[in-house]
Symmetry: C2
Subunit: 153 residues, 2 copies
Amino acid sequence: MTTVITYGTFDLFHVGHVRLLKRLSELGDRLIVGISTDEFNDVKGKKSFCSYNERAEIVQSCRYVDEVFPENSWEQKVRDIEMYKADIFAIGDDWQGRFDDLNKYCKVLYLSRTENISTTQIKKKLSHLNKEKLDTIESSLHDVIEIVKAMSV
Amino acid sequence: MTTVITYGTFDLFHVGHVRLLKRLSELGDRLIVGISTDEFNDVKGKKSFCSYNERAEIVQSCRYVDEVFPENSWEQKVRDIEMYKADIFAIGDDWQGRFDDLNKYCKVLYLSRTENISTTQIKKKLSHLNKEKLDTIESSLHDVIEIVKAMSV
């Protein structure tokens, strides 16, 4: 049995996550997913929209995933690989080269990500719902500049 | 075999969706999910963040779901119930009473939704990410305009 292990935050679960998990599961017979805890994301300077418990529950409900566990630190990967008897460590290629030293313990693979889909982009697009307000502010600022220019002539 | 049928948009897939699908699947042996198409959402005056294809792919990847199909109209439900030989039509209780006439064709159930989790709330919270800052800027800008106006008199 080939066991694949991966890690991630999986915030705002989207189709890019689904496709990555499907491809990861196809690399072996069993897919184990480490989900970054909220505390570990603090260390990384990241803040997820959904809590660890919510993110873990969603990833666990994905048919391509066999087991999830908390990722609490950068250092735990060797222990996890040994504990889960992982044959393959695989992760998105936004991490290319970053985990090459795990080659001592198992095969390391970097998978290409789904283009144009990421949690960051979703957050960005949704936060642009405020665009109208930003446009109003920009317009007011332009007015002020014009007034000041006229005064300074 | 007991077949359960449900419908929804399932935009920005969240833990409330997962829990609802899990409970729906536990009502029978097979869960069939009608996903509102983008065109049907237009008719309903709704606009989803993710496309039909993305939403369908995510719901299909959920381990509690056996099959997904497109929901194109309000009228197709009787045909779907007959085609899939559904024994139970079940949906969130935000639709309470709305589908009682389907009782002629199968059992109709309304399930309580997960409190405080909905796509609408996620969209609202994400679009408010910068709200505080925007409010401060808008307020400062207003002050500046007033000062400049007073100076120009």
